[in-house]
Amino acid sequence: MKKIRVLIAIMGLDQHEVGAIAVSRALMDAGIEVIYAGRFNLPGMIARTALQENVDLIAMSCGSWEYLYYVPELIELLKAQDLAVPVIIGGSIITAGDEKTMRQKGVAAVFGPSSTMEQIIEKINGLVNS
C-alpha cells in the first residue's frame, strides 16, 4: 500500500515548534511519510509545496493567532488551484468558537491539547482513505 504523505507546517512568525515536532514524530512512527516544512511559511509557500510534493493532507500547527487568517487563505488558494487536499489544524490556542469558524471555512479536522496521537492518526487515515 502506498504510504500516506502529510505536509506539516507552521505559519508566519509563529515559532512554537513543540507540537509540530511531537506530531511529526508520532506520524512517522505510525508509518506515515512526513514532509516537515517547519517554521516561517506563508499560505502561498505551503500550497506550492503541497503541489510539488504531491501530499495527501496538510496539517498546520497553530501556536499563534496568525492561523486565523492564514488557514482560510490557504484553503482558498488550494481551491483556486483545484487541489483537493484536506487541511487539518492543531494547537492549544484554538478555542471552541474558533474551531467552529475554521470548520465553516473548510478545515477538515481540529485538534486541541487533549487530543491523543491515536485520534490524530486515525483521523488522518480516515480523511485520506475516504
Binding site: 508566519g12 512568525l13 515548534e17 513543540v18 515536532i21 511531537a22 506563508l42 493567532w65 487568517y69
Partner: protein, 537 residues
C-alpha cells in the same frame, strides 16, 4: 518501589539528615546573606528597598495601548515594568513586511521606530521606575537613550534592563535571522555602551527563561545560561573592559517551574556558582560583581489551556518559591498564557498574588528562611555540581560559539528537550492536573474561559501608518545614516551603538537597521528574500 526523583531527575531520599551535608562548611559554602559566596542572597537585608520588584510582563497592540497597560499596572501597585515586543518586533521586521501583517501587536507590542518608543514611554516617571525589556538590546537602548535625552533626563540615571540572547535566540523562538558574529557584536556593543553612558541600566540580562521554556530542566537551563554568560564576559574582557566596570550590572532572568524545592535550590546554587566564577575565574573585586542579581518569570510552559483557573494556583506556588529563594524581581505568567497575551484581569491576578505573598504571609520577615535545611543544602550542592559539570563538559567540546553556529544546541538539547517534555506528559510521568489527571469534560470547563478566549485583532492599521511614516522622513538623512551604519558594521572594531543611535534619530526603522546590518555581514537585506532595501547605498 517507585523511584523518588526531582524534576531534573536528581535522586531524592525520603528524609534528609546531618549526614547528607557532611563536609559542609558554613562560611565557605553558605555564609551570611550579603557575604561571599552569596548563596543566601545578594544583600544582608532581604530587600534594601523593602520588597522585591513586583511586575507583570506586558505589551500588546499599538505602543499607545501598551502605555495604557503600563499605567494600569502602576496604578494597581506594580513596582516595575517589563515589556515584550510582538513577534515581528522581536524578529526585527517592520509592520509593513509581508510576514508581519497577521501578527502585529497580538503577542506583544509593535515597535519599530523612535516615534513608537516615544508613545510607549509617554508620561512614565523615569526617575522612579525600573523599565525592563524583552526586546533587541540595540533598539531598546538607542530609543531609551534618545527618549531620556529628549526629556532632559540624564541617561546615566536610567534604571531597568534588557535581555541578551545571542547564543540561542535563533533556536528558541526569538529568531532575528542574523549570523552569530553579528548577534554577539550587538550584545557586546550594547553592554559596553551601557557601562559608559547608562551605568545604572542592566544591559546584560542573561535570559534563561525563554530557553528553558523549550522544555529544559533546571540543570540544563542554568548550564546553558552560564555558557552564554561566560562567553559574553570573556568577549567584554577581550575588548579591554575591566570586569568590575560591567559585572555589577549582570542580571539573570530565570524560570520557575513547579518543582518547588528544586527551583529554590537552583537559585541558591546559581548565586554560589556565579560568585565563585566572577571572583576566582574573572578576577572581580567589587562585591556587586560577585553577588548575582536574579529575577524570575514563572513558567508559561507549566500552565495549561485546560481548566485555566488552575494556573492561578500554579503562579502563586511558583512565585512563593522565588520569594523564599530571595530573588530581586518576579513576574507571574498570566493564567490565560496558553491563549493570549495577558488580559487586564490576569495581570491583576498576577500582581495580587505577589501582593498577598508579600503582605499577608510574613515570609519576607526572615532572609533565606530555608537556609540550613538538610534537604535544601544537599539539593543546592547537587544542583551546583550538576550545573558545573554540564558547563565543563560542553566547554570541553570546543568553542561554544561554534557549537551555537553549527546548531549543536538545537540538535542535542532543544529538540530533545521538547520531545522529552511532550513524552513525559503523554506517558503521565509528569502529572498535569486537568490534563493527564483529573480532566473534566470540555462543556464543564468554562470557568475563566471567557476571559482566556477574548482576543485582539492584529493592528492592520499600523501597516499603512508605518508606510506613511517612512514616506514622511527626510530620505536623504535616513540614507546617509544607514550608509554610515553599513560602513561601520562592515569593518571590525567600531561600536555600532553610535551609528545605530544616529540612524534611529534620523527616522530609520528597526527593520531597516537590521537589514543594513545583514547586508554588512554579507547576507540578504531581508531574511525571507521578499523585500528590497529602501535605498541603494
Amino acid at each position: 518501589m517507585q523511584e523518588r526523583l526531582s524534576q531534573s531527575q536528581i535522586p531524592l531520599k525520603q528524609v534528609y539528615k546531618p549526614g547528607d551535608i557532611t563536609g559542609f562548611d558554613y562560611e565557605q559554602d553558605l555564609n551570611d546573606p550579603g557575604s561571599f559566596p552569596y548563596t543566601r542572597g545578594r544583600h544582608e537585608n532581604l530587600y534594601p528597598g523593602g520588597v522585591w520588584i513586583q511586575r507583570e510582563l506586558s505589551g500588546e497592540g499599538e505602543p499607545s495601548r501598551t502605555n495604557e497597560q503600563f499605567k494600569y499596572l502602576i496604578e494597581k501597585g506594580a513596582l516595575g515594568l517589563d515589556v515584550i515586543g510582538d513577534t515581528p518586533t522581536l524578529a526585527g521586521l517592520d509592520p509593513d513586511h509581508p510576514f508581519a501583517a497577521k501578527a502585529i501587536g497580538t503577542q506583544g507590542v509593535s515597535l519599530c521606530c523612535f516615534d513608537d518608543f516615544r508613545e510607549l514611554y509617554r508620561d512614565l516617571p523615569l526617575e522612579s521606575l525600573s523599565l525592563s525589556h524583552s526586546l533587541s538590546p540595540q533598539s531598546v537602548m538607542s530609543c531609551l537613550y534618545l527618549y531620556a535625552r529628549e526629556q532632559g533626563f540624564d541617561p546615566a540615571k536610567l534604571r531597568g534592563s534588557v535581555i541578551q540572547a545571542p547564543f540561542y535566540n535563533e533556536d528558541c523562538g526569538y529568531a532575528v535571522h542574523m549570523p552569530f558574529k553579528l548577534r554577539l557584536r550587538l550584545s557586546a556593543d550594547s553592554i559596553e555602551f551601557a557601562t559608559k553612558v547608562m551605568p545604572k541600566f542592566h544591559a546584560f540580562v542573561e535570559d534563561t527563561y525563554y530557553i528553558s521554556e523549550a522544555g529544559l530542566d533546571s540543570v540544563e537551563e542554568m548550564a546553558l545560561g552560564f555558557i552564554e554568560m561566560r562567553y559574553l564576559v570573556r568577549e567584554l574582557l577581550r575588548r579591554g573592559l575591566p570586569v568590575d566596570s560591567f559585572a555589577p550590572r549582570i542580571a539573570i532572568l530565570l524560570n520557575c517551574r513547579m518543582d518547588f524545592f528544586e527551583e529554590i535550590a537552583k537559585v541558591r546554587a546559581t548565586r554560589r556558582l556565579f560568585a565563585r566564577m566572577m571572583r576566582d575565574e574573572f578576577g572581580a573585586k567589587d562585591r556587586r560583581s560577585q553577588a548575582a542579581v536574579i529575577t524570575c518569570h514563572t513558567s508559561g510552559l507549566t500552565l495549561t489551556a485546560q481548566q485555566p483557573f488552575n494556573n492561578i494556583v500554579r503562579g502563586a506556588i511558583e512565585a512563593l518559591a522565588m520569594v523564599l529563594a530571595g530573588v530581586q524581581a518576579i513576574e507571574i505568567s498570566a493564567f490565560d498564557e496558553a491563549y493570549r497575551t495577558p488580559s487586564p484581569e490576569s495581570h491583576l491576578v498576577g500582581l495580587r498574588s505577589q501582593q498577598v505573598i508579600h503582605m499577608e504571609t510574613n515570609v519576607t520577615k526572615v532572609v533565606d528562611p530555608l537556609g540550613g535545611s538538610y534537604y535544601i543544602e544537599a539539593l543546592t550542592d547537587e544542583l551546583e555540581r550538576r550545573i558545573r559539570e554540564m558547563v565543563e563538559k560542553i566547554e570541553a567540546m570546543g568553542d561554544p560559539a561554534k557549537l551555537s553556529e553549527d546548531g549543536w544546541f538545537k540538535r542535542n538539547i532543544f529538540d530533545h528537550a521538547m520531545q522529552r517534555y511532550a513524552q513525559q506528559i503523554r506517558e503521565g510521568k509528569l502529572l498535569k492536573v486537568g490534563v493527564n489527571i483529573f480532566p473534566i469534560p470540555e462543556e464543564q470547563d468554562t470557568l475563566l474561559k471567557e476571559v482566556a478566549e477574548r482576543k485582539m485583532e492584529p493592528c492592520f492599521g499600523r501597516i499603512e501608518k508605518i508606510r506613511r511614516y517612512k514616506q514622511g522622513r527626510v530620505q536623504e538623512r535616513v540614507k546617509t545614516a544607514l550608509k554610515a551604519l553599513l560602513e561601520q558594521a562592515g569593518v571590525e572594531g567600531p561600536n555600532l551603538m553610535d551609528p545605530i543611535i544616529e540612524a534611529t534619530r534620523s527616522g530609520a526603522t528597526t527593520g531597516e537597521i537590521g537589514g543594513v546590518l545583514r547586508l554588512a555581514y554579507g547576507l540578504k537585506y531581508d531574511p525571507f528574500g521578499l523585500i528590497e532595501p529602501p535605498f541603494t547605498f
